[in-house]
């Protein structure tokens, strides 16, 4: 049970239930608003019947030709609302809207819980990006992809992507 709707700029005032969670990053105003301005239909929020924010997803569409794809920038669910299947509902949304070839996302290689979840949703590792997460401790990231209907021959994914190591600077500009 949830109410799924577009994320509103004013939701930023009340998303703390979700954003105080340590794995959810809080960005500056421009970051959220530029997504809202450009891809308003790829930024959605789920609330409870009482209107509390349960989780949200923000995404974008980018690339050209067969690289035309959706990208999951952030997907997060508050601690009280996990294991309810909210994430897959929100992921579906990103797969529907544009006639893209695939959807991709980045995840820390150590985040086994999330990787397991994405695999269940049909994502597989496309490549491993060296030190994608820079910080006090650098960490590699997996670039995971899910092919969409348009990719009938499943050309946009590969097997054993875990072994394909790339440097962040070699990623395409639309990472």
């Amino acid at each position: 049970m949830s109410q799924l709707r577009r994320f509103k700029a004013t939701d930023l005032f009340s998303f703390n239930n979700v954003n105080l969670d340590v794995l959810t990053e809080t960005y500056n105003i421009s970051f959220y608003l530029q997504y809202l301005a450009r891809w308003p239909d790829l930024f959605s929020v789920q609330t409870t019947a009482q209107g509390n924010v349960m989780g949200y997803v923000m995404g974008k569409a980018e690339g050209t030709g067969k690289n035309w794809h959706g990208h999951v920038t952030a997907i997060t669910v508050g601690p009280e609302y996990r294991r309810l299947g909210l994430a897959d509902g929100m992921m579906d949304l990103l797969e529907e809207v544009y006639d893209a070839w695939f959807v991709d996302l980045y995840v820390r290689v150590s985040n086994a819980v999330a990787i397991g979840m994405y695999r269940k949703f049909g994502y597989s590792v496309y490549r491993r990006v060296k030190n994608y997460y820079a910080g006090t401790i650098d960490e590699d990231g997996y670039d995971m992809r899910k092919p969409l209907k348009r990719d009938k021959k499943r050309e946009t994914i590969r097997e054993n992507g875990e072994n394909v190591l790339v440097n962040p600077e070699d990623l395409d500009s639309w990472r």
Binding site: S14, T26, N28, G85
Partner: protein
């Protein structure tokens, strides 16, 4: 050649070497004094070196030169932005666009400059001009959007010409086939809905082009909303039924629309009731069935069953027993989910009111919990279920924690349950919470409540012990952290609250919404530097809003995302008008007033230079403030009719417009009396009126009322003293004599080992502010009278006035001495043996004592007491220093 010369200048600016940039710019300008671009760049370097006045002079020169080259315009735009003169950018580009009417880019910039400056009419004209010259439909929609915003701003006035015109232009654009995108239809919709033309909006969505937009989920929602709002119940029912049965039975928006429509239909045609309800039940059953077959069980259909019951219950068309059975079934199915408690709240409330019934309900659901299971996975799930039982028990007020003994028994029970759950979480990631964390949250709530009833510190200390040790196991649990912050503040420890707060990584927009948890009322705790730093850092969000949000509104126009423009504007204005910003400003000014006024003359100078405009006190301005503070973060299972945990855990009343009114008026009154250029009694009289207005002072503490009255009376007195007439002077003398600052301070209590709390520190702050403001005012009185002396008259009145001034001065001095005495006593209290006293009190406590019989628990408490004592000691010390250094010179 110019390029080669300019590159080092650009680089210096980019890298923030402003001094170097200035030198380079001056060098170039020496040779070519009319190089406008270099002037603009120099302005930028100037503003970044803090020389705003020089920068804006240069900007004006650049503007006067009417530049039309992109680099100069860009540099000047940046400089103007940073000196905060957005309106000038409009003129800059307006001139450029006029000089080069075929330059589309300039005209675009001109439009955008007006968007940033909130000039709706101007942007409309610019957009129309753009459309006329460059024939791009986008510009037409910009113009229409600008009109729609004017229409919205003029809502309520008839006729609303802007809306009318916008609608006319939109329908013409539609006829001419110019409307193609969903966002353009959204623009049309907002014009129609803004005027309340819902029927017309529905017709639009029913049209071919409207139907194409239904791919967008939000448009689908608007579609159904329009149906219900126009009483098209059959359609609303049909559409929502279809969504629920074919697409998503978890969609609560559709369930609500479905039931709304259903009951409306029944009301219109009572005979259909039986049939309609059967239909609804069938829908619930069929969606339930498919939910049960799915891999992840959706709660939607099961909650819909409860919702239908609730609506039937309101008309007494269902018996409580049936509803209760459904609730229990729901609990059995979803009790393992943390959100189950929140799900059930509205329904248990509606059906349960009798104590007997409630306790048998709790017994029933408790029997559905199987903690005895050996299998880890099952056990974890049942722990969550058990927690939900406790939460519901709490919520229905049957936890039986009324007496102190019962309350402590409950706390012990919850703590044991928490400890039993701990071994199951051994393999959890560091970022996750332990399974039984909410047991501890509930236990803390009970202890907090007991503290409020008994004022016995041991309860707060106990809650701190439980929470701190649970936090060590779930180091990121922000529920623990929120409670800890509040409890530390209640017990008077800002540094401990700050320590926890700083681990929460609060930033950006959260500065506005969450900082209050730490800072509201915290000035009282005397750690001024730490507080001021926190406040200043948090203020950065308002600057960010000024710089970033207008750019994002511009982006929304560029991407023609019309559905977001109003939203962005609302967001910008809510931050612009944020109540929290005013609260930050007030506390920063109060802290600075204390810190700069170690000699009274500096205090006078500080207040004289204070910019009063950022401290609103007028009712109209106060009513426009937007309260964005998020009070909904803490878990709370308190029954509806009881005081919430958020309120219970607050050290003082919630700051609100009335609090602002008093504080702003105090600051402004001080400003007026200290600034010789300011005349008039108006503000002091406003302050006097505010502190005697019951409706206002109910929201502030008695100490704050005293301070307000004191400042008002003295300043009114000073104003009377300025008059030459004897009767006026006499009035002034009386007012000064009537300020009972010393009795206010004498009545204050020194801190004892059982009264350490925010309240103690708060009265100390009021005392300190009282004597500090008093000493500043005494200085002003002296200056006022010595001005009078120039007449060299030695009349009896003057002598009386001088006497009154001396009396006032010595009253302030007595105040300082008394306060010094009291604070020294408090300092004695926080000596090292305090920890032992408090520890002993807990170990020998009638009800809590048992817990502290083990060495481990004693050590936990000792640790906390040690940190608390340090904090208390430095707070008291900081007050003592403020007093001491002033008294030396008095």
């Amino acid at each position: 050649m110019a390029d080669r010369k300019l590159r080092p200048l650009y680089e210096a600016i980019d890298e923030g070497h402003n001094k170097e940039a200035l030198q380079l710019a001056n060098k170039i300008l020496k040779k070519t004094p009319d190089f406008v671009l270099v002037k603009a760049l120099k302005a930028l370097a100037l503003v970044r070196s803090g020389k705003e006045d020089e920068a804006s002079d240069l900007c004006a020169q650049v503007k006067a030169a009417q530049p039309i080259d992109e680099p100069t315009l860009q540099a000047a735009t940046m400089a103007y932005k940073e000196v905060g003169q957005h309106d000038q950018i409009v003129h800059l580009y307006e001139a450029a666009a006029k000089l080069q009417p075929n330059n589309e880019e300039f005209a675009n910039h001109w439009f955008m400059a007006m968007v940033r400056g909130k000039d709706l009419k101007g942007q409309q004209q610019a957009a129309l001009k753009l459309h006329k010259s460059f024939k791009n439909n986008k510009y037409l929609f910009w113009a229409i959007m600008s009109l729609a915003l004017q229409g919205e701003a003029a809502k309520g006035t008839t006729p609303n010409l802007s809306y009318t015109l916008a609608e006319r232009m939109m329908s013409k654009a539609l006829e001419e086939g110019k409307v193609k995108q969903t966002e353009e239809i959204r623009l049309y919709l907002l014009i129609l809905i803004g005027q309340g033309k819902r029927k017309e909006a529905l017709v639009l969505l029913d049209s071919d082009i409207g139907q194409k937009c239904l791919l967008d989920p939000e448009v689908r929602q608007i579609y159904v909303e329009l149906m219900t709002e126009t009483n098209e119940w059959n359609r609303a029912l049909e559409v929502s039924r279809k969504v629920l049965s074919e697409q998503n039975s978890d969609d609560w928006i559709s369930w609500k629309a479905y039931f709304d429509a259903l009951f409306k239909q029944i009301a219109e045609d009572p005979e259909s009731e039986q049939r309609k309800l059967e239909e609804a039940k069938a829908l619930i059953e069929s969606t339930k069935k498919s939910a049960l077959e799915a891999s992840i069980m959706k709660r939607g259909p099961f909650m819909a069953e409860l919702e239908l019951d609730l609506r039937l219950k309101q008309d007494n068309k269902i018996d409580g027993a049936t509803m209760l059975e459904h609730i229990k079934a729901y609990f059995d199915r979803f009790g393992t989910k943390p959100c189950c408690f929140e799900d059930l709240q509205p329904y248990v409330n509606a059906v349960l009111d009798d104590t007997q019934e409630i306790s048998s309900f709790i017994n029933d659901i408790r029997s559905l919990v199987h903690l005895e299971s050996e299998e880890t996975g099952v056990k974890i799930k049942n722990i969550q279920k058990d927690i939900n039982v406790y939460k519901l028990e709490h919520y229905l007020n049957t936890s039986g924690a009324e007496t102190e003994q019962d309350a402590v028994k409950k706390v012990t029970e919850l703590w044991a349950a928490y400890n039993n759950a701990l071994p199951l979480g051994k393999t959890l990631e560091k970022t996750e919470r332990q399974y039984g964390d909410d047991y501890v949250v509930l236990a803390s709530h009970i202890l907090l409540k007991k503290y409020r009833e008994t004022k016995d510190m041991a309860f707060i200390l106990h809650a701190l012990v439980l929470l701190e040790s649970a936090l060590a196991k779930s180091i990121y649990n922000f529920q623990f952290k929120m409670l800890l912050i509040r409890l530390y503040l209640i017990i008077g420890s800002f540094d401990q609250a700050h320590r926890i707060f700083s681990t929460m990584d609060v930033k950006h927009i959260q500065f506005d919404t969450l900082t209050h948890y730490l800072t509201d009322g915290s000035m009282s705790l005397g750690q001024f530097d730490l507080l001021a730093e926190t406040l200043s850092v948090a203020c950065s969000i308002y600057k960010a809003n000024e710089i970033e949000t207008p750019e994002m509104i511009v982006k929304a126009y560029q991407y023609t995302t019309f559905s977001k423009i109003q939203e962005f504007i609302e967001f910008r204005s809510r931050l612009d008008q944020s109540i929290q910003h005013t609260l930050f400003n007030i506390d920063l000014a109060r802290v600075e007033a204390l810190q700069t006024s170690f000699a009274a003359k500096y205090g006078v100078q500080f207040f004289a230079e204070l910019d009063p405009t950022v401290y609103p006190y007028e009712d109209e301005k106060l009513s426009q403030l937007s309260d964005n503070r998020d009070y909904g973060v803490m878990t709370d299972c308190t029954p509806k009719e009881f005081t919430s945990i958020e309120e219970l855990s607050r050290p003082s009343k919630r700051t609100n417009p009335n609090w602002i009114k008093i504080q702003s008026l105090i600051l402004r009154t001080m400003h007026n009396v200290c600034d010789s250029k300011c005349e008039g009694l108006e503000i002091a009289s406003e302050l006097k009126a505010a502190v005697t207005n019951e409706a206002v002072i109910k929201d502030v503490t008695e100490q704050e009322v005293f301070l307000g009255r004191f400042v008002a009376d003295v300043v009114l007195g000073i104003n009377h003293l300025k008059h030459a007439e004897a009767s006026q002077q006499q009035k002034g003398i009386e007012l000064l004599n009537s300020c009972n600052l010393s009795s206010f301070i004498t009545s204050q209590k020194a801190m004892t080992d059982s009264t350490i709390s925010w309240d103690y520190f708060h009265q100390t702050l009021a005392g300190v502010e009282g004597v500090v403001y008093g000493s500043i005012l005494s200085e002003v009185i002296k200056r006022t009278l010595s001005l009078g002396k120039k007449k060299k008259s030695d009349s009896a009145e003057t002598t009386d006035a001088v006497k009154a001034a001396q009396q006032f001065h010595s009253m302030v001095k007595d105040g300082f001495i008394e306060l010094q005495k009291k604070t020294r006593q408090s300092k004695d209290t926080v000596k090292p043996q305090l920890q032992k006293v408090l520890l002993k009190r807990s170990t020998e406590h009638g009800t809590l004592g048992e817990f502290y019989q083990t060495k481990d628990h004693q050590n936990l408490l000792s640790d906390i007491l040690k940190r608390l004592a340090n904090g208390w000691s430095s707070s008291v010390q900081s007050y003592l220093e403020e007093i001491d250094k002033r008294l030396q010179k008095f």
